[in-house]
């Protein structure tokens, strides 16, 4: 039986791991290579790395660090952050990553998704969508890119699917780092209208939250940041991952 994937999402900033709250308030978590080693030994299902500085266009992709990270892992890895060109995708995949996450540059030109999927296969291309509530609580696609209005979340998600994305990484900015649970309504809306897998991200604080995203929200996989880098809400840094039994009880 296919297990629900449970995926730690790690944020890179200037060669270190950090964690955010609502995409701000960066707190230092530790050394990426040692953290990866620990997650590898804890046998996590999959890992996602997002380079914040590269994503904001402030730094270029740190291939050397990515190589060191890929060397440590015996599970699938996904990289996101500033990927704008098909050559970059090829380079990162060659280092040992399975998937690339496209966000800003896919919004600027969805054709990038198509070209990448054609060359490397849809299963290697994840489109990451950050959602934030605007005035009156209306959810919008959040991006730093100065692009034309990408439309509401569902429109863009469907566009990404049509363009060839293999998966959607759906991230709630409002819930990021809050431990308050996923945005189930948002997840449901997207999963009900797409045929490709959706990975839920943003707000997970407990194993029950992970389960809800799948059972109530229809997510194919669940991702979390804070839950897997802190001991508890508001407490100290501690790289951790649920045991196989816990995952079995809550998800499978």
């Amino acid at each position: 039986m296919l297990m629900t994937r449970v995926i730690p999402v790690l944020l890179l900033k200037n060669g270190a791991l950090v964690k955010t709250v609502k995409f701000g308030r960066h707190s230092y978590i530790g050394d990426p290579v040692n953290a990866i080693r620990i997650y590898n030994e804890l046998e996590v299902d999959e890992l996602v790395f997002l380079d914040i500085m590269a994503s904001q266009g402030q730094k270029s992709i740190n291939y050397e660090l990515l190589r060191k990270i890929a060397d440590e892992c015996f599970m699938p890895l996904c990289y996101g952050g500033g990927v704008s060109h098909i050559n970059e995708i090829g380079k990162i995949l060659e280092l040992g990553f399975e998937k690339i996450s496209l966000n800003t540059w896919a919004l600027k030109d969805p054709n990038l998704i198509t070209k990448a999927a054609q060359k490397y296969g849809s299963q290697s291309i994840v489109v990451s969508i950050d959602i934030r509530s605007g005035l009156f609580g209306k959810r919008r696609v959040y991006t730093r890119a100065s692009t034309k209005n990408p439309g509401d979340p569902l429109t863009w998600a469907k566009n990404a699917e049509t363009s060839g994305a293999g998966e959607i990484l759906l991230n709630s900015v409002d819930r990021d780092g809050t431990w308050s649970g996923y945005d189930i309504d948002l997840i449901t809306e997207i999963t009900a209208n797409l045929s490709i897998p959706v990975i839920a991200l943003g707000g997970a604080g407990s194993l029950q939250d992970l389960s809800d995203a799948v059972v109530k929200g229809g997510a194919s996989a669940v991702a979390a940041g804070s839950m897997f880098v802190y001991q508890k809400k508001g407490m100290g840094v501690l790289i951790n991952y649920p045991s196989k039994n816990q995952l079995k009880d809550f998800l499978n």
């Binding site: 039986m1 296919l2 046998e43 299902d45 890929a70 015996f74 699938p76 296969g121």
Partner: protein, 214 residues
């Protein structure tokens, strides 16, 4: 104790070679990644990786001038060969995904996942992506220490080898909507649809079995 046989990983332009080599090194095997015909033909034990489309795979093998070398290694020299993911699919006669013929070392054709016979609510997403378990059908050395309840591997594919109980080339099956063959084999050739190099200790055990028992 690991045999000191050399494992040749064929680089024909597709596949996660680095990860395979990393895992082989971790289990203490001697690894070489080669792409040149002259180097490939010296192989004593070989891994054929691959990620991507069937025709792309066969085309690249032909344009790298490796088709007859590989065919000879399997049919004449009879060296042990392990195909992974697309590499497994190329061992077959052909695929619904493409026009070209495969190597035909295992007599089956690769098919697309088809949930047409299932109820709407049971229809599943394609590709089959994530961790899944295997049902061992043939007791082969490749499965040594892997017949445990928690054994699972990482899959990511849209096409699969069919499970055919009438023939014994389906070494193990996996359930995704229906049973399909996740490990196929015949004589000196084995193929895994999943990625051992991305499957933690289970993948490590499988590669160790390939290194030590073949």
């Amino acid at each position: 104790m690991v045999q000191s046989s050399r494992i040749t990983v064929v680089n024909y332009g597709l596949g996660n070679l680095g990860s395979i080599a990393n895992m082989l090194k971790k289990i203490g095997a001697q690894v070489e990644i080669v792409s040149n015909k002259n180097e490939v033909e010296k192989a004593k034990k070989l891994i054929l990786p691959g990620v991507g489309a069937f025709d792309a795979g066969m085309s690249k093998i032909r344009s790298a001038n490796l088709y007859s070398t590989l065919d000879n290694l399997v049919r004449v020299e009879k060296i042990p060969v392990l195909g992974i993911c697309l590499g497994m699919q190329l061992l077959a006669e052909g695929s619904e995904e493409g026009e070209q013929d495969g190597f035909g070392w295992i007599p089956c054709r690769i098919r697309r996942f088809d949930f047409g016979n299932l109820n709407e609510s049971d229809k599943l997403k394609i590709p089959h992506m994530g961790w899944n378990t295997i049902n061992i059908k043939e007791n082969k050395p490749i499965f040594h220490k892997l017949d445990r309840e928690d054994t699972q591997f990482y899959f990511v594919h849209s096409f699969h080898a069919p499970f055919d109980p009438a023939h014994n080339f389906s070494y193990a099956t996996t359930f995704y909507g229906y049973e399909f063959a996740s490990v196929i084999g015949r004589n000196n050739v084995i193929g895994t649809q999943f990625h051992p190099e991305k499957s933690h200790k289970f993948g490590m055990q499988l590669l160790r079995n390939f290194v030590e028992n073949y």
